[in-house]
Structures are given as structure tokens and as C-alpha cells.
Amino acid sequence: MKIVDLSARALKTAVSFAYEIFKQGGLVVYPTETCYGVGVDATNRQAVDRLLAYKGERGVKPIAAAVCDQSMAKKYVSLNQSALHLYRTFLPGPLTVVSESLGKLAPQLEAGAGTLGIRIPDHPLALEIIRRFGKPITATSANTSGKKPPYSLSDLRKYTSKKRLAFIDLFLDAGRLPVRPPSTVVDTTLNEPTVLRQGEIYIPQTMGTTVVSHSEKETQEIAGRILERYSSSLSLKPLIFALQGELGSGKTQFVKGLAKGLGILTMVSSPTFVIIREYPYQFKKVSGLLYHVDTWRLGSGKELVDLGLLEMLRPGNIVAIEWLQKVKPILERLKEKAVIVWITIEHLSQTKREIRFRL
């Protein structure tokens, strides 16, 4: 193991040493804003095999890749709206964003579903060696499996067997790093960003997925897709769609889309006057009622409880509520009883609408 003391040597030298070793498929331990990480050329299968041999038995846990910026990330994963939002807000920083893999990195790095975790370390040296190398490197903590993450060379030596240490070709020594938890891992391929591992960064719950609709028809289609995503546990728990949006934003269109997705053939028209409309449906072996509720004419949310909101919340039933502001405090208390999907529709122009949804 070659050790380069960064306090004594110029950054440039360290970077070219790392470059040579990556090219040969070797292992480099490098500093990040969390702990020391171990990197190999993420496009090189053999190099990744060597890395896995060093790390030891670790089950099916995937390994993230480190890139130097968003444009490098784009070559290897497809970034959706929520991913882009996270990149903009938190990267570089201690956050690993899981996206759909484009299949261009060593397959051992991917999780089962063809997803890949990408991170941009907030450390100048780490960024520089990746930039120089021009390709992603692996971003996993430098410890072997089951051992503590190292924050210094002596940590690594203390916790790692000699046999394993022999795998490491280069150690870029930046001294003792401040102790910070490993990166937060967020999956953006799911319906909304899901935290897989909590680190220093907290993803605010108000974030959701954003899509843009250009027509009433598209709003209906989007509703169908959202229904598809959240309906998996419908036979166990009722589903509530809490719809927010100004007059004319397309809330009723959204519910029409839900009905279409559920195979309801009856005309779904505005429930404003009658307050609640109900439609029986059968969908993927689940049968129940779609309740279309409009609180526009209600004085308070409590009146909806009087009208039987709680009785509607049976497994299999779906309750879509327009003008939910009035019932929001009541819904907050129903979190245990139902899966609640919060939908916000905003006017972008005469025909364009932004639809945000989250759990």
C-alpha cells in the first residue's frame, strides 16, 4: 500500500498517482466529507471484483458510484424530476441518490431492480481525482464489511487485517477527518423520494414528485399512473387522494382519470352540488367504492365526518377529496387508517398544469 501524505505533497501529484492506479484496476482509499472511501474504476468489472474481495461478504448491498458533477451522472443514470431536485439542493454533499441505471457501469454495483446510487462527494481532492480520471469511481466506505468506517489511516490499520490491507494500492492521507455519519441514501425511482439510509441530510417530507400536464386528457392519464403506484395495498388499507388546487385547475379531471383507471364506466361529473358521489368498481381483484367528495360547499371539515367520512375508510375504498384545506387537520389524524396521497395541482398557463404528489 502506497501512502501519499497530502499535507506534504502537492495535490497534483496525488491526483496523477490515483489516475494511474484506477487505470490499472487498482484500489485507492480517498478522503470524502464523511469517512475515507475506497474507489476503483466503476466501469471495470475486474476492478469491482477486486473491491468486493477486499470488502468481503456483504450480502446483496449495492455499491454507489462517485461522480464529479451532474453531467457525469447523467451519462450513467436517468435523472427524473425528484432526482434533479435533490442534485440541485444537496450535491455535492453527503447524499447518495438512487436512480435508474443506464447499464454502463460494472453490473455488480447495481441493485436488483437496475438501480444505481450516485454521489458527488463534497471534498476537493475526491472531486479532482474523479474529474481527472474522467469516469465514476466506487464510493463505499474504506472499511471491510462489518467493521467501523475509518476516519484516519490509523483507524483503517486498526480495523483491517493485513491480508485485506494488501488489496489497497494507494492511500491518499488527508489526516484525521471530522467524524460525520455516512451519506443519506435516497431512492428516487419510487413514487416519491424514499430514504433508504438516514445520514446527516434530512429530506423534507414536503418534497414530492412533480409532473406537468398539458391537457385535461393528460391530467387523467397522470391520475391513472399515480393510482397504479399507490394501489398495491388497497385490499388492506383504504386510499385517500387529497386534492388541492384553485377553481378550474382540473381536480375533477384528475378524479375522472382515477375512475378510468379503476374501470368505472359511469360518467364522473363534479360532486360540488351533491358533495359526495360514489362509484362501485372492481380493479385487480379488489372491489370497493370510489367516493368523490367536494368540500367546497361545506362550512368545516367536521361536517364531512358527519357525512360519514370515517365509514368510507374501509379496505378497498378510495376517497378522492377536492378542496381538502377544510379537512386537512382531520386527514392528518387518519394517517394510520389510510394511505393518503397528497396531490397539488397548479395553473402554469391556460392549458398547462403542474401536478405534485407525495405520501
Binding site: G248, T252, S269, F273, I276, G299, E303, D306, L307
Partner: protein
Amino acid sequence: MKKNYTILAIDTSCDETSVAVTSDNRVLANVVSSQVELHKEYGGVVPFLAKRIHAKLITPAITQAIKRVRLAYAPSKQARFVKSIGDVDAIAVTVGPGLAPALEVGIAKAKELSRQLQKPLLAVNHMEAHLLSSFANNVHGNGPFSKSKPRFPILGLLVSGGHTQLVLMKGFGRYQLLGETLDDAAGEAFDKVAKMLELGYPGGPIISELAKQGKPRYKLPVPMQHSDNLNFSFSGLKTACLYFLQKQKLPFSRQFYADFSASFVKVMAQALVIKLEKAIERYTPEQIILGGGVISNLTIRREVRKTAKKYELPLFIPYTTKLFTDNAAMVGVCAWYQAKRGDFVKDIEKLERQPNFSF
């Protein structure tokens, strides 16, 4: 069928608790405990406690209806058969469409009376009742159809807060739904545009009043004028109003309120008449009937009258405005026609609400 067949009719389909007594197609009493007054006390915000209010009001409304028959018409031979509730020949109740928990209150009461008094029960479609409201006669037997016989097919246009429908009536009990609203009902569009103008609730009648003092100088899109079917759509008009109003300078002048209301009403009437004419051309009816609360609007009635004249078709409108909005008298009249064809509830225990009832 015996003469002077008396029915106690109940309608609790949405906001109103209404009880009527009819004798054949004559209205002896029509009690509507309108909640609109109650709404106003809350400063435009509508407390919707229909279920509780219906439950509270239904018994007093029944008592009131019977009392009115006895007091007002005691000398008349039309009413001498109804001195107490036990004297009616049958009970009728609206089973749908409407707000489920509200409908339940009326249905439960009707079942109870039917059992207690050992009277047959008639289950009425609220929309059929609106359609037949022109067939209602006053206590002296005078009404739109008292001097001319129905000649089928009759084309019906129903325009209310919750519905906008074109129905072809081929005979009593034989109907075909030709078109309906795809989204908002016409009356709802009135109320929502009134809300944009901050005119309070229910704003529809206020717009109608303001329109009388204005000129339709603003251009609004006529919804669905180029569509080939007989359906209506008013959500696009609502959105167009919203955008139009956003562009206007605040505060609105009195003249602006009047002119904008006139423009809105004009477009509304056009939208209705365009489809009415299409239906006339396609189905060549013999007569036209109107129903629903929105036909109180004079512009709409005038435009429909022009159309009827153009096609040389007799037009029938209920003899009193009390029959336009939700009421139980039309339910009693509709039930009488049902009784004539033997359309009684066979198993009272099994009678259930049908919130989505249609033609």
C-alpha cells in the same frame, strides 16, 4: 286505479328537506324547509349539516304538510280525503340521485311510515321527478298539461345545481338520456363564477339579477358548441371566466358586475340552446319540457322559448317556480304516474338509496 289517489311524498336528496301531499297529479301541499336562509346566517360559508338537519326537520315537515292540506283545502273536495296522515293512499320517496347520507334519512322515514300505516311505497328517481314537474297541476287541476295532452316523444331539458341533462321521453316510465354534463353542472358554474366575483352563496340567483341590469359586452367562449354529441361541459367556461377576471382591474365597478354577469348568462343560454336544437333536429320531438332550478333564469327561458318557436314546438314549464328547485311535490306527481303503471316497491326491506340513479 281509484280517483283522487293521494300520496305523501318525501325528498331529501341534498340540501332541502321537502314533504308534499299530492292527489293524482294535483299538488295539495309542498313544504320545502329551505336551508338557504340558514346558509346566509353564516356569511356565505355553507354549513352543510344536511343529514342532521334532514333528520331534525323531516317529522315537522310531514306534520306541516298534512296540516296545510287540512287547513287550506278543507272545504275543497280535492283534499277531503286527507284529514290525517293515515288517510293517504301511498308513500313516495326519492331514492336517488343525491347525497347518500341525506337520501338515507328520507328513505328510512318513508319505510317507517309505509310499515306503520300499512301503505304501499313508491321509489322515485329525483331526475324523473324534475322531468315530470311540468305535469304537476295546482289544487284546482290547472297546469301546463291541463289543457293540452302530452304527445310523445317529448324532449326534456333539465338544468339544476347538480345536473344538466337532455332526456327523450317516449312515454311515462320510458326515457332515454341523450346528453349530460361531462364535468360541472350549469347551476354549479353559476355559483362558482359568483364565488369568483365574491357575491356570496348561493350566487347563481344574484348573477341572474345582476345580468338584468347589464349588457353582454364581454366575449366568453361558448362551451362545446362544435362538439357533435349532446353532452355539456361547463368547466372550461369556468376557467375562462377565472382568467378573464384575473386580467381585470380591481375593484370592479357596479356596471362591470352587471355586464360581466350578462355576458356569462348569455353564453350559458347559448350553450344550452345549441344542444337543445341539436337534439330537436336529431330526435324530432313533439313537445319540449323544462325542469330544474336554473330555468328560473329569465334569459335562459327566453332563449329556449325562441328555439321552441323556431321549430314550432309547444314548450311546457312548471306552473310555479317552487317546482323548479328541489321539492317533494314533483316526487309525488312522478310517483302517481308510477302507481298508475304498478311500479311499487316490492320488498320494502330491500329498498336502498341509489346515489347515482340516472335515466
